[in-house]
Amino acid sequence: MNASARDLIARLMPSFPLKHSGKIYTDTSEFMDISYGDVIVLNSSSFLVLRDEAERRFGIEDPKYWVKRCRDLNTGQRRILKLVFYEKFEQKIGQMTINCYRSPKKESRVLDLVRGDSRFMQGITLKDEAGNPVRILEIILGKSLDNYVEDLDMDHRTYFHELFPEILEKFMGSCEAVKFMHDNGERHGDIRRDHIFVEYETGAYRWIDFDYAYESTENPFGLDLFGLGNILQFITGKGVHDNASLGREFYSSLSPDDFALIFSNRLINLKKLFPYIPVSLNRVLLHFSQGTYVTYDNVGEMLADLKKGLDDVASL
């Protein structure tokens, strides 16, 4: 039987409406039971639960019942608590389907690795009474990279000449961060354009969400590289340009080799759409095309090519 959180909340956060105070949880195994007004106590820290987190993708809100938005009752700071949820699900990537696993211990390990490194979200892990590793994450005040780029109200030419050089340079910093993970035996696992947050205050690009794990393969970095290629395609094109958006006449001038290797409806030979894109940058994109004979084995190779691309973009 969980004790009431009323006295604890009244003492530490008197501004909270006590009629909504719930129970104290020291074991977070049954995370579906934990909701608004409950308090999660881990060691000497207490977190008032405000709501479940949700992810918005493609216009659909997907609740994450194991991720709680909280207020640290000791410091007053907002925190996200990720509770333990072992999940195996199938992830569709283009025509392929792979098994994906949620791994709390992997995320805890990565958080330890990147502590103090502003290229990544920050957090610590505390175990509850049942031994569940609860990740306590600092909230990044910012906007996801896809929203940041899509919200820029300007044509592509202006974007590419005025803003893209800085965006590319910062993205390369994010690639360096992934390389750092790989060099230390870790993988991000879920590289997507909404998993880079652009911090409001500093403009820094910061990776979030490290809890995806996959079965062993011969190319351990393939999925991360694939994700980086997708983001590069997105920021270079200021959005995704697919067969539905390209216009019939232009589309008929393209060949399958101009499209992405995995998402075969997305144009990746973007120079055909935007001729002012330097050849050096376009070449990097073409490594992710259906027409490529050479793919990147590691992030270092991609970064070496991107450096030339950045130089050429900056000198336009």
Binding site: Y86, K88, I93, G94, Q95, M96, I98, N99, Y101, S103, K105, K106, H182, G185, A213, Y214, E215, S216, T217, E218, N219, P220, G222, L223, L225, F226, L261, I262, Q290, T292, T295
Partner: protein
Amino acid sequence: MNFKKVLLAVDASENSTRAVEYTGTIIGRADDFHIQLLYVERPPERDIFPDESSWQDACQGERDNVLAFLEQAKNRLVEMGVKPEIISTRYLSSCDFYGSPDDAGFRGVAHQVMQVQKAGQFGTLVVGRRGVSKAEEFLFGSVSTKIIHHTKNCSVWVVE
């Protein structure tokens, strides 16, 4: 390199079975060959298991499966006329290469196979191939493709 020293890299798959059949057919009753059946361990990803014991169980299950396959493969070669005394088997445990200074295991099975080939001066290397698309190869990699690209001073038989 002695091309009659044959390294037959297997992984308990159907592709490997085909590679065994092919090798047995080619070498048959010749007695001046040596065939080493090699398995390089790729343990299940530890992070996908909720605890250590379930991971250990999965590792043991895979190990048992592979050891049985190595035994069957050796028997099959003998059935095909290969003399038992020219066949050896080797199970390269991940403990033998994980954490070593030049390899964190991240370089993959192909790298380990090529290390064994080089160290043992095998002149012929045989692998099966499952036939993957370009997209699959990019995302997940391919042992046979890596071996074709990077093996030196050695004949490579890729069996489909």
